[in-house]
Symmetry: C2
Subunit: 366 residues, 2 copies
């Protein structure tokens, strides 16, 4: 595999939107017992259900440690490809590559520096060396050349519309636990170079208590050019209210790369949801890893869905709100089937379906 | 990945000859210190040289443990694909899949039971569980369906001409440390079913002191339909003399699947070669692993070469005999470039270039 010294923008590459055509999807198999309760068996069932749902719409590959290979192979459908790949945890959105394509249909990957969402300051575990190798290991298997970006970023910290616009948050990208040496202007310039965008829309904070430090992919996402889904609450006493209201204001004032105003689609959040004592009791303690305790509020949002070729796979959490969220996604993705998967177990680890998936765009000349 | 209950022959599949067209080649990265001296660094240089030579003629993928990933990536050429894959040692000819194709250009893989060349009786190390997973891990990455053969076999124990003939040895296939429950007739029938051949030609013993228990791929191989290369010596005091003479007799008496007589091409062996005290001193001792000692005779043979699409890659051992072997291979493979690589370091582990490679046939309708 070749590592290229240039940048995607200079070479004519851009990150396509998630709703553009995919060649497939990558996931990683969860196993670490200081993230996942009860030997990770409940969350493995949830990951298998997500993989099964996505693989009804596009090919899925799951990377798994040598020790869990047989188990993952047995729990996943035959049509899912299972390959040995070690990692520190299972968040391929964040440690995997961000794929970029050019107008001739060629594909490459951007390998961001990964520091476990905050390095030695706020990182969720130590070490994260295997996670930081995931992007290049995926690129080796896909046969795509690699850009090694010279700054810390996770895939979940950015969304694009595929037409020149990037959506992100100040809370995450300007946090000194990522790139303390870089200014806001520097970061905008790097996003332009590595994602091939021209416009960066900054929202403020991410979802309340999101342990990634405010990833955009829990808060809001493009559903098509000019359209953004935003997690929402009508409860003014909930700290999420002010966060979502501020995001809404910024989105209403914004213009995308083509000069369009954005239409914002509010999707009411579930819960609030909290970790139970029983759930917390099943999680190992480990020095250097984030402690997970009974009563912790979970950063639940319906916006953390995955858009596959023929289906949208969304988390189900809460009978009170699931139906409205599903109806909203059906309206926003009228050509796709919307599949819900019960993923409270994934949420207990701090993320959801978008965080555990990474799309591989199809090589098509445009 | 799908595991198929049928057999290749029943489904219309056959093993192509090594000299048919390839999609690429697999290797595994050597690291175990009770096989390879001096931290495996000298043999890693030899493997890298072999990978470089083959990759001038076809794509090469190298499987490597998580711990050696960075090192293998750094020591191998960029054009070689490096993927994480754990194993117990580096003999992909023996633990990897044997690929089969059908007339419509479809490809599948046979995953033989692997027992480290003799199981708890004569096996060269314990355990061998990761080796036995290699075939299916390769098939997952290649996207090919799998037959799990119900008996012990290594890829190095059989050669085929691609036209219905299999060449093997009694010493290896009839050894009770492989399949004590199977008769010679049973084994012939299984080779017909799993390799898609109609005729099995049995030679007697393999190369003198070959620790695999007499693999055909050190002794003899097809170089084209009707033509066999055979390792040879003119030294009547060498135990190899009687082995090669007997093989020659059997080959002269044999008819292949199409009723042809075989032309035998003798290639004089190097040496005899022996492990030095310095070499032996660099190898770890490990309970359950074969002990390697100063003065051990090494099973050196020029027949253990690899046929790639555009090149043949052969071992170089010994100035006295290398030139004659290379000239012979040039005559036998007139459309390919013959490249020699100094692989004494591989030989110290008990095999050579053919043992550390596994071809992936190209999917072409015939």
């Amino acid at each position: 595999m070749r590592t290229i010294k240039s940048t995607p923008a200079r070479d004519g590459y851009r990150m396509p939107a998630e709703y553009e055509r995919h060649a497939g999807c990558w996931m990683l198999w969860p196993e670490r017992q200081d993230t996942w309760r009860a030997g990770a068996k409940p969350v493995q069932a949830a990951f298998a259900a997500v993989a099964a749902a996505i693989s009804s719409g596009e090919p899925v590959t799951v990377g798994v440690s040598a020790g869990q290979f047989h188990n993952a192979r047995a729990r996943l459908p035959d049509r899912v490809r299972v390959v040995e790949m070690s990692s520190n945890d299972a968040w391929v959105r964040d440690c995997g590559p961000t794929f970029v394509v050019d107008a001739r249909g060629r594909r490459r990957g951007v390998d961001w520096i990964f520091n476990a969402w905050g390095g030695l300051q706020d990182g969720l575990y130590f070490p994260w060396d295997r996670d930081d190798d995931v992007a290049r290991k995926i690129l080796e298997i896909e046969g795509d050349s690699r850009y090694r970006a010279p700054f810390v970023l996770e895939g979940g910290a950015v969304h694009v519309d595929g037409q020149g616009t990037c959506l992100t948050t100040e809370e995450c990208l300007l946090n000194p636990n990522r790139n303390p040496q870089l200014t806001r202007t520097d970061i905008e310039e790097l996003l332009r170079r590595y994602l091939g965008v021209s416009t960066v829309i900054w929202l403020g904070k991410g979802v309340h208590l999101d342990e990634t430090g405010g990833h955009i992919d829990e808060l809001a996402c493009f559903t098509s050019p000019g359209h953004v889904a935003l997690t929402w609450t009508e409860d003014r006493r909930d700290p999420q209210y002010e966060i979502s209201r501020d995001a809404h204001e910024r989105l209403r004032r914004a213009r995308d790369a083509r000069g369009r105003r954005l239409t914002v689609h509010k999707i009411h959040q579930p819960g609030p949801m909290f970790m139970t004592a029983d759930e917390a009791a099943g999680i190992d303690r480990h020095d250097g890893s984030r402690e997970r305790s009974a009563g912790d509020r979970l950063p639940a949002s319906y916006v953390n869905f995955y858009v596959a070729n023929k289906v949208v796979v969304m988390p189900l959490y809460d009978k009170r709100w699931d139906g409205a969220a599903m109806r909203a996604l059906r309206r926003l993705f009228p050509t796709r089937k919307v599949l819900g998967v019960a993923t409270r177990e994934v949420l207990l680890g701090g993320g959801n379906i978008h965080c555990i998936t990474q799309q591989v765009p199809r090589r098509v000349a445009s």
